[in-house]
């Protein structure tokens, strides 16, 4: 047993932090929040050069053949910097879904372009109900001779505004447990409309995507038709851990900002960090940050090694990280007093990112129920 990072992983972390300190300081984040694309394609290209988009994928698909633990190292740093980027949706969500699908043909077709950054991908799952499970999928796909026909609307689709490909969860059978079919849709196809949703976190774009008689070729299926939820579940477990790692990084940064501030801000003739109402909150924040990180890395390791409790570990990591990041960000804001409530101060970027991460792919209540089910409570 050795649950520390390897020297290579430490190097990766240092490289990621240096790069993002340089390329994505808060001022740059704020510019990108106003940007239509919501990210900087040049920065993305540099991340591709650094190999980040290829980290968790097999070498035969153009990847580096590393694991989720390595990806988590990078994502933690991206969380620290609240980087506006479709990296999470393309690599962590769509890419991991393809890689974990067992569908070698689709993986071979799409993963190389995700790795080399020539295409961005995302997943369209949620509909009107806001549910992150199979039961929430109503949008049907009708099978004609050699194509699927799509009608309907998906909501909260991450980074749809820049995605070239979208893995769309559709219903093809009335099955309470599954009955879904995953289809790869070209976002430029006739009938696809992408309408950005104005949301709290401008560093993470989501969209409503309309499908009006969109025709998709028969070979666009990922995995088996009618077994789409089982396939997607494996991808979602990985994507949840990616978000958990990112949230741990965000929370860590808030803790650092807060401690720095509590050391210098003086009230009543001494630094506010000398008051236990402040310092004890910081201690509790530390416990949450360390725990969120532990659970995220353990889940990443469990998924990399296919241990039986990996889905349970993923659900735990997502549930805890969602609560922890929100709570740490709220406490951090509180301890900054009035200045923490200003647009100018960076802490709200973290609070909003935390709320995004909490709500995305199911919140803590959702995943605690999943934990209860997996434990056969």
């Amino acid at each position: 047993m050795n649950v520390g990072l390897t020297d290579e992983q430490e190097l990766l972390r240092r490289q990621a932090r240096d790069f993002l300190d340089r390329e994505c300081p808060a001022a740059r984040v704020r510019q990108l929040m106003e940007d239509d694309l919501g990210h900087d394609p040049r920065m993305y290209a540099r991340m591709v050069e650094l190999g980040w988009t290829a980290i968790p994928f097999a070498e035969r698909h153009g990847g580096l053949g590393l694991g989720l633990v390595d990806l988590a190292v990078v994502l933690e740093e991206m969380g620290r910097h609240v980087v506006p980027s479709p990296f999470q949706s393309s690599v962590g969500l769509a890419g991991m879904t393809l890689a974990a699908s067992g569908d070698e043909a689709q993986a071979a077709r799409l993963l190389p372009s995700i790795c080399d950054g020539s295409q961005l991908a995302t997943v369209a799952l949620v509909e009107e109900s806001g549910r992150w499970d199979a039961g929430g999928v109503r949008m049907a796909a009708e099978r004609s001779s050699d194509a699927w026909l799509l009608h309907g609307e998906k909501l909260f689709v991450p980074d749809a505004q820049v995605a070239d490909r979208m893995i769309v969860a559709t219903r093809t059978a009335a099955d309470p447990a599954d009955g879904l079919t995953l289809l790869v849709v070209n976002t430029a196809a006739p009938g696809v409309t992408v309408r950005p949703l104005a949301s709290m976190d401008a560093t993470r774009r989501v969209a409503a995507v309309g499908f009006d008689a969109v025709e998709v070729p028969a070979d666009a299926v990922v995995g088996e038709p009618g077994r789409g939820w089982a396939t997607l579940r494996r991808g979602l477990d990985r994507a949840m851990v990616c978000i958990a790692a990112e949230l741990a990084g965000t929370a860590q940064r808030v803790l650092e900002m807060t401690v720095e501030y509590a050391r210098v801000r003086q009230q009543f003739g001494r630094p506010i960090g000398a008051y236990q109402a402040v310092s004890h909150r910081c201690a509790d924040m530390l416990v949450m940050v360390e725990s969120a990180r532990s659970l995220a890395y353990h889940a990443a390791w469990a998924l990399d090694n296919d241990v039986p409790e990996a889905p349970l570990a993923a659900a735990m990591a997502k549930a805890y990280a969602g609560d922890a990041a929100r709570s740490v960000a709220s406490n951090g804001l509180q301890l900054h007093g009035g200045i923490g409530f200003t647009w100018e101060h960076d802490i709200h970027l973290h609070l909003k990112r935390a709320k995004w991460g909490e709500a995305t792919l199911g919140d803590a209540t959702h995943h605690r129920e999943r934990v209860a089910q997996l434990l056969e409570l």
Binding site: V3, S279, D284, Y297, V371
Partner: protein, 393 residues
């Protein structure tokens, strides 16, 4: 990153499991879990030691096994997972022992370690005083040098197992400066010395595990000095660090067992024919506890990894002590909530679930956030020593 055991470690774990399977039955479990039955618990520790599972990482010539820290952790985990009775000599094994190994003379080690491991001699810890609890450095029990002896006078309190102990690790003041850390001296005191008086204190559980201890002109030979005169604070820090770090690994597994029992309780407790586990609020609470206990486990493993890489156990150990006490209390609280009015029934009452064990556990858990450093003091340590915030007052 690798959370799995090496093949040798897995073999060792299987060896521990095998021994536990052959040597631990429900009768031993129940009998030795009785808090008051000292002789049964002593017997259990002896058997564990004879099997080679006490002092696993301690030197062979002192009765240990010369094994690795990882093996020691594996033993702790397996013992707890098998719901083995607690070792009787907790303070000896986890506090006095490591402190003597770190600061003791060869004579002290040879004299004290072997009988400590076999539970032939039980240890207690005389740190707290009526006016010095969290502020340990303010203690007043005085030790005056007189020829080849220290002459000790004062009062200690909350001294666990003092009534059955042969030895006490005693923190005293040799310098008159009222509260200075520099004036403290760490002694090993023979509890059979003239002038030592122990009076039991009853706890809220009804048990009398801890005591008041009065010392009147107790003569302690110089040979029983641990560390240097005036150097007691540094030695005491070793004790406290071990109390919070090493012990934590075993504690965490105990929480998991309590949780397993809680899950079973939720499934089997029916109200009007409906199991409590069907209640979404109950499900949420239990799932949250499971997640936090898992976080505590992994935090502990990360700390342990650093120690295995050669770093000293640091103030981060306080994270786990803090988490553990809170979690243990919430597990006990949840259990009582599930049981409704039955949860308040005490041992001996026919209708009491598990003969009042849940009620007892709830009451005993109230001490968790006080013993071994209060939660407030642990938060101070984390804020000041880990986060580098200014000292509070």
């Amino acid at each position: 990153m690798d959370f799995s055991l090496s093949p040798e470690e897995a073999r060792f774990r299987d060896q521990v499991r095998g021994w536990l399977r052959d040597n631990l039955d429900d009768r031993t479990r129940e009998a030795a879990a009785g808090h008051d039955d000292i002789e049964l618990r002593r017997d259990w520790q002896r058997r564990v030691h004879e099997a080679g599972f006490a002092g696993v990482s301690w030197p062979r010539e002192l009765g240990g096994q010369g094994g690795t820290l990882m093996q020691e952790v594996i033993v702790n985990q397996e013992m707890a997972a098998a719901r083995a009775p607690d070792m009787l000599n907790v303070i000896g094994l986890y506090m006095a022992g490591p402190t003597i190994l770190a600061h003791g003379t060869p004579e002290q080690k040879a004299r004290h370690i072997p009988p400590l491991l076999r539970a032939d001699e039980i240890w207690c810890q005389g740190f707290s005083e009526p006016n010095s609890g969290s502020d340990l450095a303010s203690l007043r029990t005085r030790a005056v040098i007189d020829g080849d002896d220290f002459v000790v006078s004062g009062q200690k309190v909350w001294t666990t197992l003092a009534h059955v102990s042969r030895w006490c690790i005693l923190l005293t003041r040799t310098d008159s400066a009222e509260t200075a850390h520099a004036g403290l001296t760490y002694l090993i005191v023979d509890m059979q010395s003239p002038g030592v008086e122990v009076r039991p204190l009853r706890q809220i559980t009804g048990d009398a595990e801890f005591n008041e201890m009065y010392l009147t002109d107790v003569r302690v030979p110089r040979a029983n000095l641990l560390g240097a005169v005036g150097g007691g604070w540094r030695v005491a820090m070793t004790t406290l660090m071990h109390e919070r770090a090493t012990l934590g690994v075993g504690l965490q597994v105990r929480s998991r067992i309590a949780l397993d029992e809680l899950r079973a309780l939720a499934r089997t407790t029916l109200v009007d024919g409906v199991p409590r586990s069907a209640d979404p609020v109950v499900r949420q609470r239990i799932a949250q506890l499971v997640i936090e206990v898992e976080a505590m486990r992994i935090n502990g493993l990360r700390g342990l990894s650093r120690v295995l890489q050669g770093e000293q156990p640091g103030p981060e150990g306080s994270v786990n002590k803090l988490m553990w006490s809170e979690l243990n209390q919430r597990i006990a609280e949840t259990a009582l909530d599930l049981l409704g009015p039955y949860g308040t029934l005490a041992e001996g009452e026919e209708r009491a679930p598990r003969n009042g064990r849940w009620a007892y556990g709830y009451l005993r858990s109230r001490a968790n956030s006080i013993e071994g450093g209060t939660s407030e003091v642990l938060r101070n340590i984390l804020a000041e020593r880990v986060l580098g915030l200014p000292r509070g007052r």
